[in-house]
Symmetry: C2
Subunit: 212 residues, 2 copies
DNA sequence: CCGTACACGTATACACTGTAGACCCATGAG
DNA sequence: CTCATGGGTCTACAGTGTATACGTGTACGG
């Protein structure tokens, strides 16, 4: 059962961590494994299949966080969400991949199931659980991806400069919020606050249809 | 002022719509414009700059939806969100780009300002507005990207088959939700429902600190 | 022991990609 | 007339993923 495939995935992960996802080329990967590029294709169907396998591995690492069935549902969801963010912080390249394919690998399905059972335990009516699962996971992955891709980062211009591109009359919101916008932002705290708001939303969804 | 650049962007957008983002190569683009690949570099710094310009153009098209200042704030947010989803439905390739770079182009800043003013009008305390703007936009973009990338699609396996990979004892949530999971999902309706939940969340955030 | 099948690896080649550098030429200004 | 400049071309380089054909060691059935 060829540990060779695992070795290849290890190498790919290492390269991605060290020099970014773009640096994971079949040639570079082959060299790292000490083999010819074409040899990789004996163990991996495609490059895209290789990337899928990579995210599968990360998802597996993320799983145990939400599986502790003794804790209350909200805490399990928090743990899963935090683990997800942690993964994309450690492996920024993974964020964009999380959006590409649906949850097809066994581990991904398991992660979805953790959210399902948490929502059920929260009292969300069964008909609403799938939608809320997608809402929650979309937000969590979206936040992680935004952070990893730098969408929340100041970018080439600082807030002041960004506003300066336009007459301040065109940006009433920005000019009124100016003092708050210049503050450095603590994404960790923001993530926690967002989580609380979302969990609160789940609770009201459960209260609206008082079943169970 | 060289309409040539606009002509290039038009061609790039056309190629992306017809054959996907990957088909937008400098060579293909050049051929479409009727020119040599290297000629493009007189009008566009980079390929990445070209892509940035493309999303800028889409964002500009999306702007007017939320700018109608006569409507109530919730309706303006709904309009902006729907327009965003509409854009990524018409141009699925754009979704992944929306996550890459922060809102630096003037049009993007304008879009953020629309959300700012809507949240302020809703009564959200100023200190909370920037966070909630990121929360809302993260979800909307995340939903659009998920839909465009097929994360919500059934994928290679239908729900039944996906569950079959694992013993149903490992997936208590799936087995309990089975009847709902086999239903075909209407993403349009789901998006609307999600929007309502999120707007409700904004309202409670506004009520919590009854300022203004 | 022999032959054969198979897993694994290699070598070569093809069709792409983005883009650096040198050159060319028409147009308009001084 | 001269000269600069904006736009365009050609060539070339260093990459990319991967199809195809070919080798080779190891295991196993006869």
């Amino acid at each position: 059962m060829s540990g060779r495939r695992e070795e290849i995935l290890d190498a790919a992960l290492a390269i991605a961590d060290e020099r970014g996802l773009d640096a994971v080329s079949m040639r570079a990967l082959a060299e790292r494994v000490g083999v010819t590029p074409m040899a990789l294709y004996r163990h991996v169907k495609d490059k895209s299949a290789l990337l899928d396998a990579l995210v599968g591995r990360l998802l597996a690492a993320l799983l145990p966080s939400g599986a502790r069935r003794d804790e209350p549902w909200a805490e399990r969801l928090r743990a899963l969400a935090r683990a997800c963010r942690q993964v994309t912080q450690r492996h920024p390249w993974a964020a964009q991949l999380l959006f590409s394919r649906p949850a097809v690998t066994p581990d991904a399905v398991r992660a979805v199931d953790i959210i399902y059972t948490a929502l059920l335990e929260a009292g969300v009516p069964e008909s609403e659980v799938p939608r809320l699962e997608r809402l929650v996971s979309t937000f969590v992955i979206g936040f992680a991806a935004s952070e990893a891709a730098g969408r929340f980062a100041p970018g080439p211009l600082d807030p002041r400069g960004r506003r300066g591109q336009l007459p301040q009359s065109a940006l009433p919101g920005h000019s009124r919020l100016a003092p708050w916008l210049d503050l450095p932002l603590d994404l960790g705290a923001e993530f926690e606050a967002d989580l609380e708001d979302i969990l609160h939303m789940v609770e009201t969804a459960a209260r609206k249809h008082p079943r169970v």
